[in-house]
Amino acid sequence: MMTELSVQPPSSPVTVLAFDTSTASLAAAIVRDGMVVASSQSFTERNHSVHIVAELKRLLAECGLKPENVDAIAVGQGPGSYTGVRIAVTAGKTLAWTWNKPLIGVSSLEALAIGAWELRIGRHELTTGTVWIVPIMDARRGQVYTSRFAADYTGHWEALDSDGIRIAADWTGILHEQASASDGVSEIWFVGDIALHEQTLGMSDRQDGVPVRMLAFSMEAGAVGKLAWSRYLRGEKDDIHTFVPNYTQLTEAEVKLQAAALVRRD
């Protein structure tokens, strides 16, 4: 809500530099007032650390933006590839600190989910009722980084679960069971890195169950920027120094150490 004391006139646009490297996609975008002004996606190399900063530089130049024209740095906080997430988070922290701009982290899974959802809305692929959007990123050994969002065509968007690493088969079972038991859920959409898990995710797509859609979709930073923009409007930002990736799990070494400590306690 605007107040009379507001320093920034409502007409002044908010420009967000957004990027995400949690997946195989190096995604970067400039988002102004929630609209994607420029966006790029590349898959040429898994080593995002090589290209990320040059790509941001190119994108800023393409839009004729100088540091003073950027209002916030938006970054996908993960989960995803440990190394990948660290690359975007490190770049985000350093740029925000150097330029003294607000740093706004968003869930990479939510960005994936909302990106896929908006793409489909744009194509008017309408259904009725509530759709569960379930973003999927491969986490190896039958596991996925995932979450669950409820959306409908009135513009409602809500996170139903926290981001986490889950066993794909178990997670699918739970989703199908709960969807069947609830009234309003018309479809489940698995979006993202689905190729590897298609068989598992579709396993309960029974005649009597809630219909499932599989949407292969790769990360776009426009969604990161839009999510960050809404946080920006709510006056939210992250503390630059303490900001870290959301790995969703401890390192293997820490897990082993904890297990050993438990054995000793017994």
Partner: protein, 354 residues
């Protein structure tokens, strides 16, 4: 060639210049500000040693996570202590390699972001060149110089025929000296990192158990320490089988005598063969008293000046990275933003080209 050379106007001007340097190749997060390439305005080092101690060694994934946690805080401390504004930074230097790839990446991406954000050149820097040029923060280097680099991850004899031109005469074929120290320390039941404990125990021991010396081929300046480490373990087992308590002190002394003998004799031989005017001792193991004393004695006898940086500049730190990067700054040899962190990185190829 992996360099860009648009010369910023500040390179050849009279005004002082500032290099902001970052080092994250292993388990220290460090940032430093140097004025005119040799004057340390700040050198902030955040060690993760307490974190890794409970794992008995550096866990790469944890090291990477810790670097992300502290990187901007360390940068802020380094610039605050230096008392300069970010607008006074003329170039950003960073360890490009060698090192743990996940750890290197944090520093590299931070440095690239700084270079973009401040619109200044980036200087990808070789970690060993950093250890060697830590000596230039202490005194002027006379060429040709011979550098003996001994650290947790590296053991090398490097010839510098002229400034910034590196030639590796010898290197370890298996364990680095520091690695051998840590492994022997574990066998002697010292906590990680055990090198300093072995050094202390050795210096207090009255006797030494004679252990083998791996001289390799007569002309070789290379090293091998894995056999020596095995000999220590075999000696412990042998005495236990006989129902005796192994003498850890004599073993530590025997181990240290063997390492120091081989390392110093080869370094002195190389210095003589290549007409070195100076000996530079560098790397974290340069803190080892036994090694310092022996090398000082041999250099003294040969009339060869020896430089050893203070301990804070021997272990991993960003000031040394700035000191090495200064070689490239003065020659306007910069690194593109598409630079790749190199876990294995050639020192010789990193030499200056002008």
């Amino acid at each position: 060639m992996n360099t860009v050379s648009t010369v910023p106007s500040s390179v050849n001007s009279e005004r002082p210049y500032h290099l902001l340097a970052i080092e994250t190749s292993c388990d220290e997060t460090s940032a430093a500000v140097l004025r005119n390439g040799r004057e340390i305005l700040s050198n902030v080092i955040s060690s993760q040693i307490e974190t890794h101690r409970r794992f008995g060694g550096v866990v790469p994934e944890i090291a990477s996570r810790k670097h992300v946690e502290s990187i901007t805080l360390i940068l802020e401390e380094a610039t605050q202590i230096a008392g300069i504004g970010l607008d006074q930074v003329d170039a950003v230097a960073v360890t490009q390699g060698p090192g743990l790839v996940g750890a290197l990446l944090v520093g590299v991406v931070a440095a690239k972001s700084l270079a973009l954000a401040l619109d200044v050149p980036l200087i990808g820097t070789h970690h060993i060149a950093g250890h060697i040029y830590a000596n230039r923060l202490v005194g002027e280097i006379l060429y040709p110089a011979l550098a003996l680099v001994v650290s947790g991850g590296h053991t090398e004899i490097v010839l510098l025929e002229s400034e910034g031109v590196f030639r590796i005469l010898g290197r370890t074929r298996d364990d680095a000296v520091g690695e051998a120290y840590d492994k022997v320390a574990r066998a002697l039941q010292f906590p990680y990192p055990g090198g300093p404990h072995v050094d202390r125990l050795a210096s207090e021991a009255q006797e030494a158990i004679e252990l083998p010396r791996a001289w390799l081929e007569p002309d070789s300046y290379d090293f091998s320490f894995s056999g020596l480490k095995s000999a220590v373990l075999a000696e412990i087992n042998r005495s236990r089988m006989k129902g005796e308590t192994p003498s850890f002190g004599s073993l530590a002394r025997g181990f240290q005598d063997s390492v120091i003998d081989v390392v110093t004799v080869k370094a002195m031989r190389a210095a003589h063969a290549f007409g070195a005017r100076q000996m530079l001792l560098c790397g974290g193991v340069a803190a080892n008293r036994g090694l310092r004393n022996q090398l000082a004695a041999l250099c003294g006898k040969a009339g060869l000046p020896l430089i050893v940086p203070p301990l804070s500049l021997c272990t991993d730190n960003a000031a040394m990275i700035g000191a090495a990067a200064d070689l490239k700054w003065r020659r306007a040899e910069f690194t593109p933003l598409e630079m790749k962190a190199e876990p294995i990185f050639s020192l010789e190829e990193w030499s200056v080209t002008k």
